[in-house]
Symmetry: C2
């Protein structure tokens, strides 16, 4: 298998990992939040949205939801509405409930980043096991969000394996629902290592020799302009060399500076 | 210094770190996005918002901005409007420009998480140096966001030390402005390690002895009900012991199960 084929297979595996993550919104009130959630999900590679007992019968078909979903209307088109959280979690193996406040409960309660790591481990371990056993069983994970007041009932919480919170300012921890979904989907994508920022195109850099030639030109011009005493060039040369070296200069920048120095030298000769 | 005093000093130092992070919105069109950005900032401990050449003269005083800022109107109250990015960055040492698309430029271009780490390093190194030198100089960092089309001009980009992108779905990478600000502020807060999720209250757990007593009770009841053959208890006992051990049972749960077993035993006697 070539490196590029391997990379594609790896990337497909990661897309498959995120495809097995469901976002569940419980008793959502505002269709706008459903649209924003769909957009947030799709940007991070998630597509499976289920809404439990919403206030409006079909918030995902509302004009405001469609407007805020922007290019993610395909997520709304496959969104399911179910009457209870039990229905939403029916085929789910590991559910993470999001709660803003600390509860005195028998659930493990971790930060979002820890929860995302644990959820992706569930998904990837299961993929490995599936491959080893040659079976089709694959784990499914749900991220469960309460309504706009960010409340999950105790009964909802008891259906989750794990509780998670987004760390936030203790004097104002009020992320709205769409923002919480965005940050949660972002951390799932990061934990799955699904989408990298493309590496920088290799930048053309000046060589040490180019910098050396620039320094000699600079010193020569500075001496000619009686700015630099050739008997004690130490501090000026040291600082300039350090600056040019640190800046990782490009050949074109070296050429521009040398052109400027040449112009200074010429205009001095003309006087 | 006591551990708790030390913890408070450390937490104040971290709050100070985030206080030196400015969010700059360039040519923002929608007041709603200004309000959402203020809310996103405050939840993550940031307060310094500057808007460059907005379409409306004072978008931070608009009713929609105030509504979406929710409890973060104090951020809007101190928001400054300036005519150019140069003004916004005047007292800034390290500016990170956010861009959705990859540019062919001489700037380093990294993922959001890397950028947040580098920005916090700038801030914290400077604090250390300041403490060592006994001076008041402290670095300031800016996060610079383009308008709703997520575009920074080349001229804007040239005023930043670093470019950053939020990794996203290559087929739909369209985070909106408020969502981008939320995720960026979240990563700054995480890099500064500013707000921890409170550790779990210690849960009362059953001891190995409690589990052992439950197992003996269960086996006795299972034998009495002729479910378990005392000659070959192996598999049943093994699986049940493994389940109870893995579940990290609480004393109350052990007591409930033993109560249930006792009820089964009694109802069998009554027959």
């Amino acid at each position: 298998m070539s490196a590029s084929t391997e990379l594609k297979a790896e990337s497909a595996e990661r897309a498959d990992t995120l495809a097995r993550v469901r976002v569940v919104l419980v008793e959502t009130s505002h269709p706008g939040n459903v649209g924003s959630a769909a957009r947030a999900m799709k940007t991070m590679g998630l597509h499976d949205l289920v809404i439990v007992a919403p206030r409006l019968a079909a918030p995902h078909e509302d004009a405001q939801a469609i407007a805020l979903a922007s290019g993610a209307t395909d997520v709304l088109a496959t969104t399911r509405i179910v009457p209870t959280l039990a229905d939403a979690l029916n085929d789910i193996h590991f559910a993470v409930g999001f709660t803003a406040r600390k509860r005195e409960l028998t659930h493990a309660h971790v930060s979002l980043r820890e929860a995302a790591g644990m959820a992706i481990t569930e998904l990837e371990t299961s993929s490995d096991v599936r491959a080893a056993l040659g079976t089709q069983t694959s784990a499914r994970v749900a991220l469960v969000f309460g309504n706009e007041a960010m409340c999950l009932s105790n009964d909802d919480v008891d259906r989750c394996q794990l509780l998670a919170s987004v760390p936030a300012n203790p004097v104002y921890s009020s992320l709205n629902l769409a923002q919480t979904v965005q940050v949660a989907c972002y951390e799932m994508m990061m934990a799955a290592n699904a989408f990298a920022v493309a590496p920088d195109a290799p930048r053309k850099l000046a060589t040490a020799g180019d910098i050396e030639a620039l320094m000699q030109h600079l010193e020569r011009a500075a001496i000619a302009a009686q700015f630099l005493d050739p008997q004690s060039p130490k501090r000026f040369s040291t600082r300039m060399r350090r600056l040019f070296t640190r800046a990782r200069m490009e050949p074109e920048e070296v050429a521009i500076l040398r052109g400027l120095l040449a112009a200074f030298e010429n205009s001095a000769k003309d006087r």
